[in-house]
Amino acid sequence: MPIVASRSHRWRVVAAHGFLLVFLLFTLFPLLMVISISLRPGNFASGSLLPEHISWEHWKLALGMSYTDVDGKLVTPPFPVLRWLWNSVKVATVAASLMLLLSTTAAYAFARLRFRFKALTLNAILLLQMFPPVLTLIAFYAIFNMLGDHVSWLGIDSLASVMLAYLGLISLHIWTIKGYFETIPSEIEEAARVDGASAFQAFRRVLLPMAVPILAVVFILAFISNIIEYPIASILLVSVDQMTLAVGSNQYLYQQHYLWGDFAAAAVLSGLPITVVFLLAQRWMVSGLTAGGLKG
């Protein structure tokens, strides 16, 4: 956008860069610590940022390879970390996609359609999510135990049960998408209806493409919350092979002996799918899709 920039503009840009860099330093410091802990020999949580010796032992264990330690003993990986990663990715992707589907259709109903008790239902789903989840875990176990008796692939210790359990956490996403839908003028869809589109076609071909930025945001957030979720997954997943990364990494923290190094390596691994999804979703978050849609 060509405009005349004021003289202080350059300084403002420099100041902005400076602020961001300093802020990033503070923000990324703990993350760099995690990486350095995973590269340190032994399992220590404190020490300098740049480790004096680099030892790949924790990463070897995390990636499923054995190594010989200083005493000459062969150390085999105690846990299937890569399998955990794959479980996490599976659960997070499927659950996030389903969550997006459910929230989008529900948000469309709340934003565009008319029905009774709309305001009541809307507030209710927001408020119901505020129950402290720490204690509903007993209920989750009971429900899926019973479900597993009738449908074997949905019972305790199955990844499908975890995917299903996450479907309840959509109320915030419904509100987000609904809010975004309401900022898009409904006249465009009405124009489509006048041109002969059915309600569903207007939804799919007119509204959804315009809402792509918020859908990308919701998918990222749903994906992340599924990867890092711990309480529900720890109740539903019991055997070591079925665990997700969040539940599995906790196995490294024995009461008396925190295996910080291995834990840190697993932590960095769990950040990878999230970063990848975030990078992929960047290209959906483009602006200007609604610009010019309406004259005046």
Binding site: I3, L101, F115, A142, L167, L172, T183, S186, Q282, G292
Partner: protein, 558 residues
């Protein structure tokens, strides 16, 4: 036409499923599934249900996985569910009826014999061993395996002095002059069917009297074979023809056991050993003796509002409650304020076209959210360590101070807010970035032409337009932080503790961690569920007030 066929097919499949569930014994579940599926079919086929087709999957998910656990947990608050009262009444009764005790009155010596590829157990009572003369010849008869030899006949010979010691040879003949014995003696040696003895799965095996079985035990296998198969034999319950049962007690003996309790018609249990009566009490959740002693295991009973009353009346809970509540509200409010402001500021900054490398900044700034929370919290715990943590090392080098982050109340609270900000700002940054895309760009162009600066842009254009969709997210973030168990528990566990309360509570405790600590002490899920429900009601009221004040539910269209 096609849709009608489809409807009929769907209804057919649904009915089949419901019928299967019903036949499986779960009538309530069948009814619930029938209701749900019926509603689904109606919504997706009838014209009147058109609006609800969009709502149905989402609401179904929320009902099943939010409402149902919530109702279940609230219900638990009305019971005395705890580590001591864990089972249902039926299950507790089952457990008590399943308890057995070993009757030591009769012992069976057992020997292991090979038979083909398998094994047989031969059990003999002690009575078989000739302690006096009367049993001697019967031993002789049975051991030689003569079929059908009635004990009466040979007993006659036993009455005479021809008492044989041990397994003497047959002495059937002779001594016809002895008085006949009272009647047929019960068989005292038994043999099991052929057992493979390969697995250790529990099994129940019926034994028959050795006399009529047709098996003649040869050489008994030495003790080392018994030891080798010990685990398999241990898992076997031997059932006698008269109904009693026995299990392996030592490497040479089986001892009969029987149920410790018998259920009477009125529901009480009688202890077979001591003849005590146990009455189930639906108020305490235990079976009680006449003297009032409670017998484990306990079972869950409804206790009405006892748990709730306890929260409000028990001084142990009430004392720190208000202080913890105050800090919880302050913590949640400040967290939302700081993270939202920071996130919004960063989103604005990153959307500035003049800023180069905005994409790189965006990814780097987002990284705190990419690492699972509990990992970063534990890392921060290490960083804020007073003596070895990096933060104090740096502060010491720069300013010469080493603050006591975990010991001092104010510093601990500041530490919590810092960590929560670090964890929470990417969420708002992302959200504001997404929401800002909905603002048409020409508004900014117009304001640039009018000579407005960035602050004016923000307060007059961006903020009013983002405010509506953002408010419910702020409210939800408030509720999330109100219930933020993980952060407080992992970072400080609620400490530093209050010094003047009976219950464990600390300066950084929020209501949920306070609940957890008190309930955890007593292992009472019912109490914890009651406190959780109370917390939920508080949060819900606060949120309703918030929503009313901002009038968010009313939709507005441009």
């Amino acid at each position: 036409m096609l849709s009608r066929i489809g409807t009929v097919l769907a209804a057919g499949v649904a009915l089949l499923l419901v019928f299967q569930l019903y036949v499986g014994g779960n009538a309530l579940l069948a009814a619930a599934v029938a209701g749900g599926l019926g509603l689904a079919i109606f919504v997706y086929t009838a014209r009147r249900g058109y609006t609800y087709r969009y709502l149905f999957p989402g609401l179904a998910g929320i009902t099943l996985f939010v409402v149902l656990p919530l109702v279940y947990t609230v219900w638990i608050g009305f019971t005395n569910y705890s580590a001591k009262n864990l089972l249902t009444f039926e299950r507790a009764t089952e457990v008590l009826l399943g308890e057995v005790y070993l009757r030591d009155t009769v012992r069976y010596q057992f020997t292991l014999h090979a038979d083909g590829a398998g094994f047989r157990l031969v059990l003999r009572t002690d009575e078989d061993e000739p302690s006096d003369g009367s049993g001697g010849s019967e031993t002789g008869v049975n051991e030689s395996g003569l079929p059908g030899a009635p004990a009466t006949g040979s007993a006659g010979s036993a009455a005479t002095g021809s008492a044989t010691t041990g397994s003497a040879g047959p002495s059937i003949a002779g001594s016809a002059g002895a008085p006949p014995p009272p009647g047929p003696r019960p068989p005292t040696a038994f043999v099991s069917p052929i057992l493979p003895l390969t697995g250790t799965a529990a099994q129940r095996v019926t034994v028959v009297p050795l006399a009529g079985s047709g098996f003649s035990p040869g050489e008994e296998l030495p003790l080392k074979d018994v030891i080798a198969h010990r685990d398999a034999i241990k898992a076997i319950t031997v059932a006698f023809p008269d109904g009693t049962a026995a299990a392996m007690a030592t490497l040479r003996e089986f001892t009969p056991y029987q149920a410790l309790y018998l259920q009477n018609p009125d529901g009480t249990l009688t202890n077979q050993k001591t003849k005590e009566r146990l009455t189930p009490s639906q108020t305490t959740g235990f079976y009680e003796t006449a003297a009032g002693k409670l017998v484990e295991p306990g079972f869950r009973v409804a206790v009405g509002g006892d748990n709730y009353a306890r929260v409000f009346t028990d001084a142990k809970f009430r004392g720190p409650f208000l202080r913890v509540f105050a800090w919880t509200v302050v913590f949640a409010g400040l967290s939302v304020l700081i993270t939202a402001t920071l996130g919004m500021m960063l989103a604005e900054l990153l959307s500035w076209e003049r800023l180069r490398f905005a994409g790189v900044y965006r990814v780097l700034l987002f990284l705190p959210y990419a690492v699972p929370g509990f990992i970063s919290i534990l890392v921060f715990k290490g960083l804020f360590n007073r003596n070895f943590g990096e933060i104090n090392l740096i502060l010491d080098a720069l300013l010469g101070i080493r603050p006591d982050w975990t010991g001092d109340a104010i510093l601990a609270r500041i530490m919590i807010l810092i960590v929560n900000t670090w964890l929470g700002y990417p969420y708002f940054m992302l959200m504001c970035m997404g929401l800002q895309k909905s603002i048409p760009h020409d508004l900014y162009e117009a304001s640039a032409l009018a000579g407005a600066g960035p602050l004016t842009n923000f307060f007059q254009i961006t903020w009013p337009l983002i405010r509506k969709p953002l408010t419910p997210l702020l409210v939800a973030s408030f509720a999330y932080n109100f219930n933020n168990f993980v952060l407080i528990f992992l970072l400080t566990k609620g400490k530093p503790d209050f010094l003047d309360t009976a219950a464990p509570a600390g300066e950084t405790d929020v209501l949920v961690t306070y609940t957890y600590r008190t309930a955890f002490d007593e292992h009472s899920f019912g109490l914890a569920a009651a406190i959780s429900t109370i917390i939920f009601v508080i949060v819900a009221i606060l949120s309703v007030l918030n929503l009313r004040l901002t009038k968010t539910a009313a939709s507005d269209s441009r």
